[in-house]
């Protein structure tokens, strides 16, 4: 019969239409504007409406999610910002669009480089969010952010002031990465202490 295929296809559409309501009823008011509802809508069992009503609702960002990087500082004893960056320049060298600019500090007396940057710029307009700077940083000093709402009317050149964020923020957005880094740092410190002890004895 001519038209059978169309009717069959429309059946699929009708089923999906009905499913929308069935799922709404099954979840009875909990399907929208709460985390379980969002998780359900992006799971394999989702049927019916699957859209997430941004900005009222937001998809949770997975831990590995990467957006424009920031610099990590540890909070010192008297609230001093201990910047982890040693201005070694690996991030600036590996950056594919070359959007990282670093001024290395020099000790005014000796003229030797100091392990902290004087200035650190990231041109966020050019940054392609590839995450190489983070991947190859030997000091875990630079981390990809989760904050993706950075639209602005101006050019976005981030300087030290805008880039620096505390380690506690890093811990809050990437708990697993943070724990892994801490473990590595501890292991490194222990190895260094053991070496020093060996040299001393």
């Amino acid at each position: 019969m001519y038209g059978k295929g169309i009717i069959k296809g429309l059946g699929v559409t009708l089923k999906r239409f009905v499913n929308t309501y069935l799922d709404d009823i099954a979840w009875w008011g909990h399907r929208y504007y709460n985390p379980e509802g969002i998780a359900h809508r992006s799971s394999k069992d989702a049927r019916g409406v699957f859209t997430v009503q941004y900005p009222e609702e937001k998809l949770p960002t997975p831990e590995e999610f990467r957006y424009v990087p920031f610099l990590v500082y540890d909070e010192g004893a008297d609230g001093k910002k201990e910047v982890r960056c040693t201005s070694c320049g690996i991030c600036a060298k590996v950056c594919p669009p070359q959007c990282i600019w670093i001024v290395r500090s020099n000790d005014p007396q000796t003229g030797r480089p100091v392990a902290e940057p004087t200035e650190f710029y990231i041109d966020a307009d050019i940054c392609m969010n590839c995450g190489f700077c983070v991947e190859y940083c030997p000091f875990d000093a630079i981390v990809m952010d989760h904050d993706y709402e950075i639209a602005s009317y101006q050019r976005n050149v981030l300087n030290m002031e805008k880039l620096l964020k505390p380690a506690s923020y890093y811990k809050s957005i990437r708990p697993l990465n943070y724990a892994r880094n801490e473990e590595e740092r501890k292991a490194k410190d222990a190895a260094r202490a053991a070496k020093a002890a060996m040299a001393a004895s």
């Binding site: 059946g11 997975p62 600036a92 060298k93 200035e119 995450g131």
Partner: protein, 578 residues
């Protein structure tokens, strides 16, 4: 055709004494052919030895002595290919005979070489610029050509560290824009005449029909047209509603990906490959890492091999779903099928995001493995998708569309291309397989670990749009088969066989890595001189080469079918224009 000779026994030097010599530079393979004998050798290769598919043609600028044109030919029956080269001195005019008479698929690629390298191809049917506009100054891929914001030949740039005072790039140019003009340029006095060459290339004629004089009409579809999937333009000559001639115009999204690639270090190219076919960054990464891993001669970690397969096949599934949705959109079904496709794609992109950190610009591969392991619970999610949901959804698409009478009457018999022509025009991927040629690189020359999986090469025989639609559904099902095996077999272990290095050492030499990307054969030709940056980085983009035959596909059909044909080829402008 004579009996096929096996590659291993193929000795071109013995066959063509004096005009073919083996390439003896360290790290190089293939044959160097005398320029005057090129046509003869190429004809022999195709007719006697069976290299019927000319996959890639590209130029290399060995500044300052010579230019080289590199050809990669393969057999559609499978197996390794043959690489041959023509070397010419680097003095203008640089001339090489065109091989379009033997492999018409070389047409656009030779135009690209003329455009970017300034190598002239004698007897080429339509040698015009293709990616740059007519009137562009110079040939950008030459090593002595410099772009407007030129700083240095290679990254990392010295101005960034250790004394990196930020300067915006625009500040460096007097026009405060990415513009460059020849010396003494006066915009008042220049008349651009680019379009004349384009319209000159279109066959112009008039017909007298039953005593009524009719004229042909030139219609420009695009560059801003909803059916062209981006900024693509086709200049079409119409007789009534029938297409009599067609020339694609492209390059609106051109950013000279390859020049950027030569400035970059080897690793820095990885995120740039994401931006080629932005639907399938996972497979783009693979082609490039394959080429460089070949040069570095390293093995990939076992778990990473499986992760690569899983990601590439998921990527193929979502690409084909989108293609079906968008094809229906082009045919006038509006957004229902497209949205159904997007729903499944969203679930796949969630996996990419959790594994790699980004939904579309995955940047997932590293030389020797992948960048991150799957997060906890993700394998279960993938299992749930590929074993339960996606097969169900593929069936739903089948029910939804396959028997639809409107779809059938609109697409069946609208001839895209037959198998023989498809091979001649270097078409690869689903379009070739829909035309009845069972050529799939995953089977013909398996890369990665594809030889461990059981799957069939999807095949259809008519080559019309309907078959092009059906083959995508077939391929989704085959990809799901591979995925179901892969998620069961995936072992635990390290995800990279190499130590993480921000600058890899790549020995001198050349390599061509090719994969079966969802749109066709995606190849990367990489030349290394042992320095941190590639000397030559070429992308053989399936979208670009598959539309070489666009005119051949469209002539004789109605203008409304052009939209459908174009939709069925499956192109992405990011890859087409590079």
């Amino acid at each position: 055709m004579a009996t096929l000779v096996h590659t291993e026994t193929l000795d071109l030097a013995a066959r063509f004494p004096g005009s073919a010599t083996a390439d003896s530079r360290p790290g190089y393979t293939g044959w160097i052919i005398n320029k005057d004998k090129l046509i003869e050798v190429a004809t022999t290769l195709r007719d006697e030895f069976g290299y019927d598919l000319l996959s890639s043609v590209t130029g290399v600028d060995y500044f300052p002595d010579k230019m080289e044109v590199v050809y990669e030919a393969f057999k559609t029956t499978g197996g390794p290919g043959i690489r041959f080269k023509v070397q010419v001195p680097r003095v203008d005019p640089i001339e090489v005979p065109s091989v379009t008479s033997i492999w018409p698929g070389a047409e656009f690629q030779e135009r690209e070489i003329w455009d970017l390298f300034g190598i002239k191809f004698n007897n080429h049917p339509d040698l015009r610029r293709i990616l740059m506009w007519e009137g562009f100054e110079g040939h950008p891929m030459r090593k002595d050509w410099h772009e407007p914001f030129y700083e240095e030949d290679n990254k990392p740039l010295k101005s960034r560290w250790p004394d990196g005072k930020f300067v915006s790039a625009e500040e460096k140019n007097v026009y405060k824009d990415n513009l460059q003009f020849p010396p003494n340029f006066d915009p008042e006095k220049v008349l651009f005449n680019g379009e004349a060459a384009l319209y000159g290339a279109l066959a112009k004629y008039q017909t007298i029909d039953a005593g009524i004089k009719t004229d042909h009409v030139v219609v420009n579809m695009g560059p801003q047209h909803p059916s062209t999937h981006g900024v693509f333009r086709a200049a079409v000559v119409l007789d009534g509603e029938t297409i009599v001639s067609l020339k694609p115009v492209m390059g609106y999204l051109h950013r000279n990906h390859e020049k950027i690639g030569e400035r970059n270090t080897f690793l820095q190219n990885m995120p740039y490959t994401d931006r080629l076919d932005y639907f399938n960054s996972m497979s783009n990464n693979w082609g490039y890492s394959l080429a460089v891993e070949k040069l570095m001669n390293i093995k990939v970690a076992e778990r990473a091999e499986y992760l690569r397969v899983i990601m590439a096949e998921l990527s193929r599934v979502q690409n084909h779903l989108i293609l079906i949705g968008m094809l229906l959109n082009d045919l006038g079904a509006f957004f229902t099928p497209a949205l159904y496709a997007f729903e499944e794609r969203e679930l796949i992109l969630d996996i990419f995001e959790a594994a790699s950190g980004s939904r579309m610009m995955c940047n997932y591969h590293r030389f020797g493995g992948v960048s991150r392991d799957l997060p906890e619970g993700m394998l279960e999610k993938i299992k749930g998708l590929v074993e339960e949901r996606l097969p169900r959804k593929a069936d739903e698409f089948d029910r939804f569309l396959t028997e639809n009478e409107v779809l059938i009457s609109r697409t069946r018999g609208v001839n895209v291309i037959n198998g023989e022509d498809a091979v001649r025009y270097s078409i690869t991927g689903p379009v070739l397989r829909a035309a009845g040629v069972p050529y799939d690189i995953r089977r013909a020359q398996p890369y990665g670990i594809y030889d461990r999986f059981e799957f069939d090469v999807a095949l259809r025989h008519h080559g019309d749009i309907y078959d092009n639609y059906l083959i995508r559904l077939d391929e989704i099902r085959q990809s799901l088969r591979i995925l179901q095996q892969a998620v069961k077999q995936i072992p635990e272990g390290p995800i990279n066989s190499q130590k993480p290095q921000y600058q890899v050492r790549v020995p001198a030499g050349e390599s061509y890595g090719r994969i079966e990307a969802p749109k066709g054969e995606l190849g990367y030709y990489v030349v290394s001189t042992g320095k941190p940056n590639p000397w030559r980085y070429h992308v053989r983009a399936p979208s670009f080469i598959n539309i070489t035959a666009l005119e051949r596909m469209c002539v004789g059909t109605k203008i409304a079918d052009f939209v459908a044909i174009f939709g069925a080829i499956d192109i992405v402008l990011g890859e087409l224009d590079r």
